[in-house]
């Protein structure tokens, strides 16, 4: 996917100094906060902090919710991306706009909107509650729904991009050779968009792991049930800064490890 420049060619095309300086400044925007975090880390207390109940509970809730949201996004988001990429229909631009809306909407607004829609007194939540007894807010399902809402757009965008760049003649060829539609999808389409799918899944998961605003607004905050790592950080900042920094460090390490590992293995598409 990425074109490789050989080393002699690279030497000849040394990047302009202005670009290097600006790029370094750009990088510093990401690195500076990390340095701040490391400077405030209570290294000596770290083992105790990392094994405390709050941290372990938050880690568990965060992993369940982010993986759950990624799974739901894959099941629902891939078909959505396929429809958007392959089917011509009126209002496609509107549908695409709706899909990416959570990317620009403040998560708190998203959380409030979810509450008004799926809350116990919500537009859909109330009849659903009366029919089935289900209550989403203040439960792990609320956390998963909030995370799915903010994270699924990454999957849809990424997979839709992959499908658009795919040369549909391969699928046509498979079909002429007698493959059914499912076989084409399974054996040709999905493998060919593999890198976009992997990148989409990674971004979706990372966004879900970091989700804060929609979660605290829609799902509330209770240790062991709905308190994710970001929520635990937020609460700890007011009472126990050491714990807050330790929690933040966990998030940075997990996210960075996964994103770098994925980048090296599959993630050529982005």
């Amino acid at each position: 996917m990425t074109k490789r420049t050989d080393s002699s060619e690279r030497r000849k095309r040394r990047p302009p100094l202005v670009l290097v300086v600006l790029a370094a400044l750009g990088l510093s925007v990401f690195v500076m906060p990390l340095l701040g975090l490391l400077a405030r880390t209570p290294w000596r207390d770290l083992p105790t902090l990392l094994t405390s109940d709050v941290v372990v509970d938050a880690l568990r809730v965060s992993l369940i919710a982010s993986l759950g949201a990624t799974a739901i996004s894959a099941v629902l988001g891939v078909p959505l991306a396929w429809i958007l990429a392959r089917v011509e229909f009126r209002g496609r631009a509107i549908v695409r706009g709706l899909v990416v809306l959570p990317l620009v909407l403040p998560p708190v607004v998203g959380g409030a909107a979810l509450l008004f829609a799926l809350g116990r007194r919500g537009l859909i939540g109330e009849p659903l509650n009366q029919a089935t007894g289900l209550v989403f807010p203040f439960s792990i399902w609320g956390v998963i729904i909030a995370a799915t809402f903010v994270a699924m757009p990454f999957l849809v965008i990424s997979v839709e991009g992959g499908l658009r760049n795919l040369d549909s003649r391969y699928e046509g060829a498979a079909a002429t050779l007698g493959a059914g539609r499912w076989t084409v999808l399974r054996r040709v389409t999905l493998p060919m968009i593999g890198p976009s799918l992997a990148a989409g899944l990674a971004l979706t998961w990372a966004r879900a792991l970091g989700e804060f605003g929609a979660t605290i607004t829609f799902a509330g905050n209770l240790q062991g049930r709905t308190q994710t790592l970001p929520l635990a950080v937020f609460v700890a900042l007011e009472s126990d800064r050491g714990a807050a920094v330790a929690l933040s460090l966990i998030m940075v390490v997990i996210s960075l490890t996964v994103l770098i590992a994925l980048r090296q293995r599959w993630w050529g598409a982005l």
């Binding site: 203040f138 605003g213 605290i216 209770l222 007011e238 009472s239």
Partner: protein
Amino acid sequence: MSPPGVGESDEGVRAPLRSNGVCDREGSTVRRHQAITVGVATAALLLSACGGTGQSTSDEVLVSAASSLTEAFAEMEIAFESANPEIDVVLNIGGSSALREQILAGAPADVFASANISNMGLVVDAGDVEGESAIFARNRLEIAVPVGNPGGVTGLADFARDELLIGLCAESVPCGDYGQRVLQNAGVVPAVDTEEPNVRALLTKIEVGELDAGIVYETDVASTDGEVTGVEIPDGDNVHADYSIAVLTEAPNVDGAAVFLAFVLSEEGRAILANHGFVLP
């Protein structure tokens, strides 16, 4: 839905940027905090916004007040300014602990009005209070339920009912600490479903009916104008939230600050506080 206090508890609260009160003092603020990030553009903006008024620093009293005082102190400002037209009160409203952090970081406020004693205590300990602090108002706690009381909540004992959705404030904020003490007094182990980051977030979730009950301040229930229903907590179980006020050592306008503090403690000031549901000491 109130935003969950983004920036209330992070380092951002130390920054000397306030929605009010920057006009006459942005020079000293920038110097004192070396807030280089504020930048020339912002300074120019502030100068252009404030340049024409011709006010000198001594005319202004900057009051850092707890957010539960929002309505009461807004009225206090109007009454004070009509009695003292030469002094301009500027309110800097925020969470008590966020305001405390600002003051400890050297933000140039004249008066600090805290929703609890411990935040004032930390400011006193740092040597930042001029003279003595005074308790000027008390708040009590109250159970808030949605209109119609769908959970049939009649008292603190209902907080143990697992089938109800119960909310409290997080223990790191004063209302959460008070709420836990109230429940302890009543000997109730609550079946909590959420610990909200601030009292207004809790109030909103009760207002929209997603929670069946929560413990908030009496003045919060009053401020919703009937959007939630209050259920009284008996005196034996209730606790008082003490509001403390003081003039700050580094106040740019010590005289004006003293006049304002005296006004808050005066009969007129007390009447305003009582009007907003505060209990007077």
